[in-house]
Amino acid sequence: MSSILNCIRADDVMATLLEVKDLVVKFALRGGDVTATNGVSFDLARGERLGLVGESGAGKSVTGFSIINLISQPGYIASGSVNFHGENLATMSAARLRTIRGNRISMIFQDPMMTLNPVLTIGTQMIETLMAHNLQMCKERARGIALEKLRKVHIPSPERRLEQYPHEFSGGMRQRIIIAIALLTDPELIIADEPTTALDVTIQAEIMDLLIELCETEGMGMILMLDTCRCRSGNWTLAVMYLRRTGY
């Protein structure tokens, strides 16, 4: 009880968006539990950007997935808490969680070639995402929002692009579209799991600039996971993950 009160007070004073505390994630395997993260802790204020840096296998992606409580079986959150606006996502009901996941917290993945559904036009996918979160949403309004977000990520002639399939886009364009999909519901927090790893160097810079620009204009918080520190601009808090723990 006292921890909840603390969080609410902290929320007032520092406007804490997300507070991860001693997060331990384990995978139940046949030979016993394997610890994937062992005491990850960090705070994120509203609109703050956190870079989570660590070598591969350090537990960055697992941390990202456990924030939205979506670790695939046989993984589970063994202890610790993930407080989003003071509510613990680790113990929240599935239905309540769905109103946060993909709505107030969005996630961007590593490989833009794989994360779009190959047989649906991007318009269909964007409209579907909007309607999944807001049952009162009509198709015309959803289309309008989709167009607005595509413009925000600098996709030229979005009206035409909305009718096209993922294979008709280049890798950089696809990652922009994925970012646009993440932006659809105006989230307060974006978790970007190595969003530039699958792209070439010049496109990497473009995507990074775009993400920073969007965070600043929209006032979004962002957790960026990377394997190297190569950010050139913007205010970043940096956390290093090593051996399944965080340190500043």
């Binding site: 979506l70 794989m114 047989v119 009718e163």
Partner: protein, 305 residues
């Protein structure tokens, strides 16, 4: 871009234009379906109307034979019914049962395959073992058993009235595992892909992921399977009717027509059994050839030698 323009640029249309067999079988199929749909307009007689049947006209050979008559192009059967009209009406019943049974199979099989494949675990195990059990004994055995029971319960005369829905149900329920297995196999491949993960992260409920994200990705095997299953269902119906368990002789399908003429084949009246047989072969063959074409288009990795 309009839908028609998109279609004209598609690979499907491109390969269709170059495949003579596909064009021919589609033409034949369209012709047969149209004559089945517009049977009352096309057929010269109404084979269901006893007023138009005269027993004196029985066993008249086709028009090109010596004793043939211009009135009955393909001759008449043992009751004096015009063969051409009876065949067109019979094909109408065969196609109705075939399409109805496939719709039922597809509905059950696709739904079960999608959910079993996506959720896995116990649900998957139960449905797939049920499918194994069902495929392990012949559908004919089940159909013979059920129709014998049904004929005993409702009586042979009333059985004729409910024969069409009965055959649709029997053939539909006996073949759903084909769809369930095919769909489940593609779902198992699709559900590990990242777009499914992305949909889950985006907060989609699992029925929504299954129906709006995974289902469109399983459509091409479903389409190919459907053509083959329509042909199979028409054949199954013909087999059941030939055995006397399907359509009654006063509302014959192609199978019961073949059956009705079978006794006369040695007395020289070959047309009663051969002509509906040829029509059945042409119908099933053209559906199968079209299915082969679709399979080649949707699976370009399968090169024909």
């Amino acid at each position: 871009m309009s839908a028609l323009a998109t279609f004209r640029e598609s690979y499907l249309w491109y390969s269709f234009k170059r495949d003579k067999i596909a064009i021919a079988s589609l033409l034949v199929l369209v012709l047969l379906f149209c004559s089945a749909i517009f049977a009352p307009l096309i057929a010269p007689y109404n084979p269901y109307d006893p007023e138009m049947i005269d027993i004196m006209n029985s066993e008249i050979p086709p028009a090109w034979e010596d004793q043939g008559s211009r009135e009955f192009l393909l001759g008449t059967d043992s009751q004096g019914r015009d063969m051409l009209s009876t065949m067109i009406y019979g094909m109408r019943i065969s196609i109705t049962i075939g399409l109805g049974a496939v719709l039922l199979q597809a509905f059950l099989g696709v739904l079960i395959g999608l959910f079993a494949g996506y959720h896995g675990g116990r649900l998957d195990a139960i449905f797939m073992r049920a499918a194994d059990v069902q495929l392990s004994f012949s559908y004919l055995m089940v159909a013979i058993f059920l129709s014998a029971v049904l004929q005993a319960v409702v009586g042979v005369s009333r059985f004729g009235e409910i024969a069409v829905p009965f055959l649709i149900l029997v053939i539909g329920f006996s073949q759903w595992p084909q769809y369930a297995r095919t769909v489940r196999a593609s779902v198992l491949a699709e559900r590990k892909k990242e777009y499914v993960e992305a949909a889950r992260v985006a907060g989609f409920t699992s029925p929504r992921i299954i129906l709006s994200q995974i289902f469109p990705n399983t459509l091409s095997p479903i389409l190919v399977l459907s053509t083959i299953q329509v042909a199979n269902a028409v054949m199954s119906e013909a087999a059941l009717s030939f055995l006397g368990l399907g359509m009654p002789i006063d509302r014959p399908s192609l199978g019961s027509l073949i059956n009705s003429g079978f006794e006369y084949i040695f007395s020289g009246a070959w047309w009663i059994t051969i002509l509906p047989g040829v029509l059945l072969v042409v119908l099933v063959l053209s559906i199968n050839l079209l299915g082969d074409f679709l399979r080649d288009v949707f699976n370009p990795k399968l090169y024909k030698g």
